[in-house]
Symmetry: C2
Subunit: 318 residues, 2 copies
């Protein structure tokens, strides 16, 4: 028996873009769009909408900006019921860059926010909601912010925002099942009129398991990426999630083809997945930034030294 309310969001290009400056070529992005459409995935998130006053289009690929016109080129001519999502970061988007929904190919806008920025996030989702978009707030780095400030933030979201879905985002890949259960239950208890989402990171190989845990306790919006691509260790593999869900509408085969044809060769060029320094960062509930720097150095396999630096000096000194 399946839960019809469950929605799967593919964020391959958006989270994968964090490891290649959002510079996927249009052919590749169309292949992903075609496959997730055929697989009947509910949403595809294609990138960030960032201000070109803050970031130069010379330094980043198209999916750092996600112009409506560029999205139109990707989806043109491909039959699809998959909705398009974009993400915005607080303080990095020009609100006037977001047209009313009826003039845009975008269906959903997700606001990534730390707990401390929740007032800004509420302001933004309310604006986007008034423009006609579905909206989410994705509460990042939640493994660091599980105390009274989080409680206050989710009460405020319930009382003041027009948001549809609130995501638990395990940015550091530090959560295991018990905290996931605790957070989903808390979110559902406090925000009775909203859906709960889960976005895992795979530093400790727990992204898929934690996503299942979130489903068990009532989360209905679930993120995955093809072959688990994403920053550092990556995300919950979309193919495992689709294989697990019982809704007969999903078809895993287009995703299998996509991995065979595109992601196996891609993995030889850019790195993600189970790599020890990311696992160490996850165990220590730290941002993977230091581990990512290590992987680009000539000490990429010096795990003990990395571990000891993190234990002795913490993230700041690395």
């Amino acid at each position: 028996m399946y839960r019809e309310k469950i929605k799967v969001l593919d964020c391959t290009i958006r989270d994968g873009g964090l490891i290649n400056n959002h510079d996927f070529d249009s052919r590749f992005v169309r292949q992903v769009y075609r496959a997730v459409s055929e697989a009947k995935v509910d949403y595809m998130e294609i990138g960030y909408r960032n201000s070109k006053k803050l970031f130069s289009p010379k330094e980043y690929g198209l999916w750092k900006f996600c112009d409506d016109e560029e999205i139109e080129k990707i989806i043109e001519g491909i039959e699809s019921e998959t909705k398009i999502s974009i993400m915005v970061d607080i303080g990095r988007v020009d609100m006037e860059d977001v047209r009313p929904k009826k003039e845009s190919p975008v269906d959903m806008i997700r606001v990534a926010s730390y707990v401390k920025d929740i007032d800004k996030a509420i302001y933004m989702v309310n604006e986007f909601s008034d423009k006609g978009y579905e909206t989410t707030i994705n509460i990042m780095a939640i493994s660091r912010d599980q105390g009274s400030e989080l409680d206050e933030a989710i009460h405020q979201i319930e009382e003041e925002s027009k948001v549809d879905v609130v995501y638990i985002v395990d940015s550091f890949g530090a959560l295991y099942q018990e905290p996931v259960e605790h957070l989903v239950k808390k979110f559902k208890e406090v925000m009775k009129t909203r859906e709960v989402g889960f976005h895992g990171h795979n530093h400790q190989q727990l992204a898929f398991g934690n996503t299942i845990e979130a489903i068990i306790h009532g989360a209905n919006y679930l993120d995955g990426t093809v072959y688990g691509i994403g920053r550092a260790a990556g995300n919950c593999p979309l193919e495992l999630l689709v294989g697990f869900l019982k809704n007969p509408k999903f078809d895993i085969r287009p995703i299998l083809d996509l991995i065979s044809q595109e992601f196996i060769p891609l993995r030889d060029k850019i790195e993600w997945g189970y790599i020890i320094p990311y696992a160490i960062a996850g165990m220590m509930n730290e941002h993977p930034k230091a581990a990512m720097a290590l992987r680009k150095s000539d000490k990429k396999e010096d795990y003990r030294e990395f571990y000891e630096r993190l234990v002795n000096y913490g993230f700041g000194e690395v």
Copy 2:
């Protein structure tokens, strides 16, 4: 707060041996023994004790047979509190090859058994127990055998055997959290005088998550392998397990060194880990044999075809 009764068993050489005909050289095995000893891992399982009448020492490495004399050479001169374990398969061991414990470097013997062979397993553990060994029964492929025959088997183990620990073995990497919870609770309910163990396989990236789930519900014997080495997708990574457990006696650093120095180069020579055909086998609750054959063929990345063959014909025809 940690649970003192929790014991960690490293089965790197034993389960890893399934992908190289048990042919690790003695230098490598000593390095593993040294590292897990320094890490204060409770047990190290070094291989199988198989009859030389059934398998030729010309075709297999030393750890298919695990002669006491060969084990002595490995542990000699290395300071250690880590106990030595060997595994036996039903019908493949000459019982007279097992000397009394006081004449052997082995501390524990684990009997791998399907549910249908449980009478034989009970006979064997009782013999080994009488010879002075700690014993376990490892119930394999349990994702296929969760019905009344399993219930009968565990009642029988409780009533007739001298075994210390009974393991849930997810041979196909098909379990997720809810079945793990259900099985651990059932085992503890029926076998009140035995410890429960868990041995995961990582086909769907759930080995570590499921091990945590087993811990939550009371399993105290936990298997892992260095860098997750093992047949097909491999096992629960020992480094993640040691990083998770709170007992201050454990030291992850020797394991990190071992991965840097030995397992990164080894992974270039032999294959294990997250590989799509193994994930497909896990989703379908099938033995990974067909997927292992595929990986040795020129169709190793033809996932869709493999998936469709499995859907249409099942494991037998592949």
